[in-house]
Symmetry: D2
Subunit: 437 residues, 4 copies
């Protein structure tokens, strides 16, 4: 970018400019650069070598990148023999040195390589992009998961909640950030800048994102919120053009209607829990009239489950429902399945409360996220999302998860220890009525 | 502080304000809070528990703090048996899960506790202060070094050079930062705000510090620089009131005359190497006339070594020199030892080039730092620091280390691999003339 | 806007928040509020009254606004008798008091009213909007020009170049500013956010705007620049999608291809002269390879002049040319007039050099602006703007005005004193060949 | 200053850097530069000429500066003949042109010169410094007051309250601003940086200043405030080291104990009224427990009046009191006059309520300021300021003026129209008891 006058720019580290501006002309191979960076020499001129290594890496072909990761995986790994010896040594004398040695031995050398790479200009973001590449290879080359374990471990430590910065995203946010929000929105697509404007500018809308100071131009996760007078049941109504706006001070409910992770390379590092709770807490502080904090959430695996249940019981309700849902044609709304409203709603309640994975957790991934955070399942909304995607994934149904800050801890514990899905009695009643057969 | 209008404030994370503003009234003991923070419950409400734990800790007596650290040390340690088993398991199947498990097992549980504590408001700084306390106990309770190993490991990862922000410190810097610079200056005391102003305001002075975004009001390390027309040989001349100032653009040399670490709790995490090189590189870019980058450094262990040599050879030159140096009385300058200029200078050259620790590295700590960074020993300056401290520690001698960015890598390697002290031939010539006996 | 996290926000004054947040419920009429604001009482609580007056004004109908302006115009005017007396008094004793009194008497009371209105929150912008209303009434009610004289006088003083802030506009600029750039672009329409991005993001594009600190979210004027390797002759090539970009450092020419005033209410206050010269000077400093600073400008009144000339000489070249130009149909390009390239180019040269208004200045308004700034007319470009607007206004022709910073002063003087149109000899040669008859 | 990393720096205009960095080598005399700046040429290259003129001016001797001002005064003045003609013309046709011409004619040409000077880098501040010089000459050369009338007029318009920025001054404020606060404090001297820190850092202290965006490093006026639980009666208690601090939220009263104008060159432009009211209003909004807003003010002319009264009535109470006050020796406190507490307090009440200037306004300048703002006189404090200055000026007495935001308007009107000194009945009672004879 030609000029950076943004405040976000002030967060970023200043790097040796001679390095940033010089084109890297290091002739060494990428494995030689790995060696150099890990050697003592790396201490003296690490920033420069790290920059050269990234420059090299970023121009590699897919195959050569695989080679690079295999080098990390096989040649910079833990030695099991040394690990056993170090453990034995620690067992014997329990000294600080032995402990230090134990960890050093049990930590693959590639981890230190990654840490040193971080000293390059833009190093953190470049490491995140590097892991994106790696994740794309795991299906083909399963053993690279060992290397991915180290990326995940490192990022979990570096992207510790204590280092994250919460920022409002609004219509005064720099355009290069907003264009990323448009691109990263994963739940309800933002179709244009005008659409974005409608989500950010009105007095009854809010959006917040977490940033990391070393990646100041890249949101990590963001949440979009509607301030309303009642619990929203339909995302189309929430996003409708020409809807009536209200003053923020008048609102009694905050609807978290979209939450999107932005960085594939940070997979496995969890931000959403912290984000929702902090935003809820901040909003409650700023707008004392807000009493209710709920999501308006999709049920992304519902029809997938219907299909599964349908196979298991070919004459059951699930089969019937699935058939009707799949029969909806492009451009149609809910009409075709209106008569099934009762049974679909009951099936959904059943799906939430009774259908579990082998580990005992709910089948639905969004449910696992919110229940794991300590939210409860509040209600089921017919015609909550009548978009093509909404109809296809969840028969147009949406749900509200309730973040009651006072119950969050107890809910979480019940869920984490006993797999209890905390749900409102009305949802339970629906589930009781559900009949699969 | 009542109002924070500073730009530094923008770096810091925003935290759940309900937490920050509420007084913590958690009734649990500190070990119960440790358990809670490490439990699943800690995931749901970690920020709050972490805040309560710090609040508790910060009011503990010295003895209770020791108890707390002993709890971390003994009850949240690695289990050697589990470690051996995990190593064996990894040897057997080399899977990602086994590797993940190996690291988890070989990492004391207290490390995860520290990471979770970081989510509290001001967590990073509070952890640094906590380690300060711990460091003060290591002499008395040696086994706590095991816990310190974890602090050092964590801080080394978190204060990675890639996360540090370089900032100029000048006369437009907020006062609460400047007052810390005054207080942290460790080499040549800053006696007053006027003294500080003389070091920051003139066109031929510079000061830079590294900050971490999670501790935006706390410099980690800073360096003070004089821009000059010749290599400075006397710190009193550099700091003299009423000296002639020059325009920055005219200067040909940058003299790094003071470098101070600020945070005791970050002991063992090295910043100086990076700081000097980045600042040298930046200055070279901004001021193309600058050709020479040198330090003006004390020799803090010289008279200590004289005393040692004196004991070993009671009739030697070192003994004579030591006697003269020790005989200097308060308020006297160098007069009493002027006649010894030749032999003291030679002894110092010898001290640098030939006196080694058992590990083969130079006796002088400042020499180890700069030579380890790849600098070379350029020259020895008689009457370089005639303050009481300068006379007492180093017989008034100072030296210049030379950072020639082109030689830094080779120098570093020669030093790191072969313990070579790279020195100018004039220093070598002096050392050759030195006679201890 | 719900949240303002923008740096621009920091420029704005902080106002008594009790005032900003309270709804104004002042029951007085707008003329009573005028009286109150001008009275002594206005000194005690001026900000509040000013806010109430604006609130009242902003809800008035068009007719009531006219009434308000007529009140200012007739009842808060200069008294000619008092003016004559004050002039006589000053002639007599030439004292400071007499001078002060003379100015006070010769200054309409409404001017003081406007100054006091400025103390309201957002006062400056609200005054600019108020004048926009007034300007729209001058055609109907000519005598209101007296009141407009005062607005123009005041704004000329307040928007003095010494108070303007130059800011780069780029892709990191807040969206609410960028959306104004889209809306205010007056020369070559910005059709979408993607179009804007193409003008701001590439390394060889620049945009700068003047802001006033009291209206930090409102650009006053902005200029768009292309950095190129040769003098651009076609605006469509400058703006083409998929064109080859170059590095800014490689560019040798800066093409000012669009300059737009943003605030109708600031009519008569000139910023463009300052803007172009400062930007040229700044670019020359940052990018030493830049040697040539030229505009790529439309000729907005060319076909209008052709029509005039055509009427005067119905059988002449102008008539023929005009007919061809008007005959171009929607969707056609230049084809229909290709054969006239020679004669149109010559007519244009003639139009610039020989066609004058009664005051002796060139007929073309853009020419008057740039020549008045001290630029010279460099060359005429066939097919410079083949858009419908370009064809219609100027037969697709564009010109380059040259800002040679060394000649600017002399050019300006020749133009200002002797009405000399400084032009390149090639343009003069064309004009010499031109034949109207 | 070498580096400017301060947020204040972002307020300032960016100027043509070629101008700022080039040394001005214009050979023209200052009057030639005046002519050039006022000529058409000045429009083309005004910024450059303005910079050259300031550079020239700033190196002139006192005598040459006088010559310069006399040139402005005599040669760039209003022509009374033209003024009379313009007034007559306006009387005749009342057109916009005639009005415009009238003002132009009645405005000295030097005013346009000052406006054009403002376009130089740092122009606004340089003009303020220029007027400082001028003010120093008015005693010697009275007729220069005509030129000063224009400076005052221009600054009153440019430093309109709508352009001022209120900023908190606290311990995070840049040092170069704080050092000006130390230097500009005019009421209760700030003796050191530690003293400053005690006034800024504690939770129960506040300080605010007005800035102008074109002079971002120069406070215009600032006020220091103590948040307390009762109306403070002694400035020494307010400023005592080691006093008990309270939380801001607990405070019920805000004591404005010092207010200082900073810029001599802005004499006659009033900021204090706005500052106090805005700060009171803001504090009331932030800290809802604050109910009382009062000053703790000196009585700077009390002993001067005692001397006057003493002369008029050599045997009266005033004479006795004055003698005792003057008899206080260095280092003594109030002891010597304790017995006079009653009569001094009564005399002071009388002084406020009954002693007037010929224009009917109170004798005391501080009283005129606060009463003119609409404050009322609340109480008289014995031993309010026992510093040497306090004893000498006001016999150690201080008073509280009360800013009751609800009464301010009515108080102001009573004072402005009828010269009523609004005072608490207890003060009136004291005045009634006062006996001069």
């Amino acid at each position: 970018m030609s000029n950076n006058s943004s405040i976000y720019g002030m967060l970023s580290s200043v790097f040796e400019r001679a390095i940033v501006f010089s084109k890297s002309d290091d002739k060494r191979s990428i494995t030689e650069l790995c060696d150099a960076l890990l050697s003592g020499r790396g201490e003296a001129t690490g920033t420069k070598i790290a920059h050269a290594l990234f420059n090299k890496y970023e121009t590699l072909s897919h195959e050569d990148k695989q080679e690079f990761f295999l080098h990390l995986n096989e040649n910079l790994d833990v030695s099991p023999d040394e690990a056993e010896a170090a453990a034995a040594d620690y067992a014997k004398n329990m000294s600080a040195e032995a402990l230090k040695n134990l960890r050093k031995i049990c930590e693959p050398k590639r981890l230190e390589l990654l840490r040193r790479l971080n000293s390059a200009p833009g190093g953190t973001e470049r490491l995140v992009r590097m892991r994106e590449d790696l994740l794309g290879m795991l299906n083909d080359i399963g053993r690279l998961k060992r290397t991915d374990v180290d990326f995940e471990y490192l990022f979990s430590s570096w992207f510790n909640r204590g280092f994250l910065v919460l920022r409002p995203i609004d219509w005064t946010t720099p355009a290069h950030i907003l264009e990323k929000v448009i691109s990263y929105e994963a739940v309800h697509e933002i179709s244009s800048w005008d659409d974005l404007r409608r989500r950010l500018l009105p007095a009854d809308r809010r959006c917040y994102a977490f940033f990391h100071p070393a990646m100041p131009d890249e949101p990590l996760i963001f949440v979009e919120i509607a301030l309303t007078n009642e619990i929203a049941r339909s995302v189309q109504k929430v996003l409708a053009e020409g809807r009536d706006e209200i003053e923020a001070e008048e609102a009694t409910a905050a609807i978290f209607y979209s939450i999107s992770n932005c960085q594939k390379g940070l997979q496995g590092v969890s931000f959403g829990n912290f984000l929702i709770k902090q935003v809820a807490s901040d909003l409650a502080y700023d707008l004392p009239n807000l009493k209710t904090f709920v999501t308006l959430s999709p049920v992304p695996a519902f029809t997938r489950w219907l299909a599964k249940a349908s196979k298991e019981e070919p004459d059951g309700k699930a089969h019937e429902a699935l058939g009707a849902v799949l029969g909806i044609e492009d451009g149609e709304g809910l009409e075709r399945i209106t008569s099934l409203q009762g049974s679909l709603t009951e099936l959904l309640a059943h799906y939430f409360l009774n259908e579990k994975r082998p580990d005992g957790l709910p089948f639905d991934p969004v449910a696992r996220f919110h229940l794991g955070n300590g939210a409860s399942l509040l209600q089921i909304n017919w015609a909550g999302d009548v978009s093509a995607k909404g109809l296809k994934q969840s028969a147009g149904l949406m749900v509200n998860y309730h973040y009651n800050l006072k119950d969050v801890e107890a809910n979480h514990e019940a869920y984490a220890q006993d797999r209890v899905v905390v749900a409102h009695k009305s949802v339970k009643a629906l589930a009781d009525k559900a009949r699969l057969g």
